[in-house]
Subunit: 445 residues, 2 copies
Amino acid sequence: MQPAHRHRVVVIGGGFGGLRVVKALRRSEVDVTLVDRRNFHLFQPLTYQVATGSLSPSDVTYPLRALFGSAPNVDVLLATVTGVDLQGRRVLLETGGAPGSPAELAYDTLVVATGSSYSYFGHEEWREVAGEVKSLESAIAVRSRVLSAFERAEASKDAGERVAELTFVVVGGGPTGVEIAGQIGELAQDMLRHDFSRIHPGDARILLVEMADRILPGFPSSLSVKAARSLRALGVTPTVGRRVVVIDAAGATLEASDQSHERVPARTVIWAAGVHASELAAQLGEASGAEVDHAGRVTVCADLTLPGHPEVLALGDMVRVRDRHGAVLDLPGVAPVAIQQGAYAARAIKRRLHGQSQRPFRYLSKGNLATIGRGRAVAHLGLIRLSGLPAWFIWLGVHIWYLIGYQNRLVVMLRWSASFLSHGRNQGSRIISDLDHRADAGPKG
Amino acid sequence: MQPAHRHRVVVIGGGFGGLRVVKALRRSEVDVTLVDRRNFHLFQPLTYQVATGSLSPSDVTYPLRALFGSAPNVDVLLATVTGVDLQGRRVLLETGGAPGSPAELAYDTLVVATGSSYSYFGHEEWREVAGEVKSLESAIAVRSRVLSAFERAEASKDAGERVAELTFVVVGGGPTGVEIAGQIGELAQDMLRHDFSRIHPGDARILLVEMADRILPGFPSSLSVKAARSLRALGVTPTVGRRVVVIDAAGATLEASDQSHERVPARTVIWAAGVHASELAAQLGEASGAEVDHAGRVTVCADLTLPGHPEVLALGDMVRVRDRHGAVLDLPGVAPVAIQQGAYAARAIKRRLHGQSQRPFRYLSKGNLATIGRGRAVAHLGLIRLSGLPAWFIWLGVHIWYLIGYQNRLVVMLRWSASFLSHGRNQGSRIISDLDHRADAGPKG
């Protein structure tokens, strides 16, 4: 369709990084193909709110085609990338077996931004048992599990079973773990308070397990203390200096530094501990000889290019960046890093077309935020440390601002306002849903 | 928990009928247990909008506990009913195997309102291939199928394959079939218009297949004509006097009255033809000797009680009602019938407690509505017949009015307004989602 001489840029991954690259290349003199397995961008910083029914899936997703449909130089392709042929400069695809689908995409410049998924530290069997809030589907599954646990507790006449149903173990005391534990606390103490006749949802035991000696180890310790206090007010018990050694269908086993073990019977264990880079990172490392670290991240140069392959850029939490002096930058796996790297990559591509060079990538940190519940958050903005309501309002503003798409922003604000005013008792998102119920519609009058 | 002497009412099914019964019995002198397999009420008249991404699942669902949590005499139990022991006056339950869960519920009065599901007229194999819009999960699955079909057409280089992907067959020309066909038409002609570079979504072929000699056979024929015209304007081809004789993964085969056959290659076939009553209807019929018709509906008396069992009432589209003169009332399987029967059942229960009798049930029809698309509908209100924009505004008002819950109503209005103004190009609900993608989060920057 396009004249053959235009520079072809293929971007793999429609997350924060890939999206920014494509946005910055709209209406420029290159042809862009954005490849993703899914047809939507997921606003991952709020996905955990889907897991507790505060937001509905459509509040945190945005169709990729709706973003780029009007840009004549941007193509969106729904396909799974199986590999990259660096020598042949082509991306290998699996499109689901539809006859006539392309099996590859040629590129002049490739941008890889395929992110990460949770790592279970070699315990793949935990993945089957634990819940996650990383993908949309996993968050929906957690929502069903958490709400079903309250339902089964209400229905059960067995006291031990009720305790296990009402015990929630969240593994990992970083921002995601803190957020999900705080949300379960709010759900139990507030939203569900008047919903049951036999159980008191407020009796739920919510353990937040962190290996380090404090939660939010990436924040100043004064804010860790404040976050822990806010969590306790929501019924969450921060449990630090413990690691999880067993996760099974009946609960989790925690090990302290003195090797003592505690068995916690719990029907719901949610994993928010370490992540592992997407498989493409290791593939790029193997094909190019670039270093791959223990978390599966490939090491790129200071200009985000793959060593020896200036036509391939990689970014986001699937890479580590080595600066010109050989030191590896310590960048957190958060959206602002991916967004800034995406903007940098697009600029580099455009400058290179004009024979211009680009200074190395530098990350400008605007601060660190974690929310704990309604009106509770911590913010670390350079010298400024905030907690409570002021921090929460900053968190709220930043997240609404970054939510892509006018309608989503409005709907999320409306939902949150209604939720704030009604203390969450009017939530239409609190449904237990899964595709197993497909054939039969269930009771209907 | 409750004193043993209070009259116990068990209501099976949280659809329109069951919900109305429980609402009317709130704060009355009986104890009510509402049993449903799902924890939410589904607003079925709008479920088809989930199937095309116009509404998100949370817009058409409402948690049952949020409705009745504040009523001290109402219990909600999430469980599957496996049967009713009419002699022992107890409901048999399957609660998912949680230890300590109750296996039965005793009742003094039982109300059964478990609705219906689609019937494939003896072709159970079609259920595996065809999509449906009756349950929430089936509607989400249809959404994924319809959107994926456009994606696969865009990716395919095979002309025949593209035609099959862009052909949608809707079986059944009643209100649901008309609505879903019209929505797919709008999606193709309007919402997706600018989203693709290789295909023109407006080229989609949408067949609405009806056995009778006109679509909407329950409406006056003048409105059928107008509805067909509106459908054609949206790119839908009403195909009447044909029945479907084959549905498989590659398409559908239609048979005309002259026995001629037409094979339609299509990747998406949606079933909206006949329904079959929930299994409990047949069980009640067998246990009581009451008549069960070919659609599986049990025949109840003029006061909605099961013959010989004045303590058991059944209602909604799982029953037929025989009046005092022995004639079977011809009631449509729509929400207003279930709602009026639910109100009647609650009144009957309350009057009986005071030794008062109740006149037989009478259905007061307020009219018939079917929507075709934005600004297009038909309304049959007694002597008044409307079409186009006036009918659509009536349809809109009625549906927003009946949407349960203040927040849902606001959010749906907001979404619809945004959709109306933007011609559907800002929809956050247009995502392809299923639970198979659980473990790996997919690309993310």
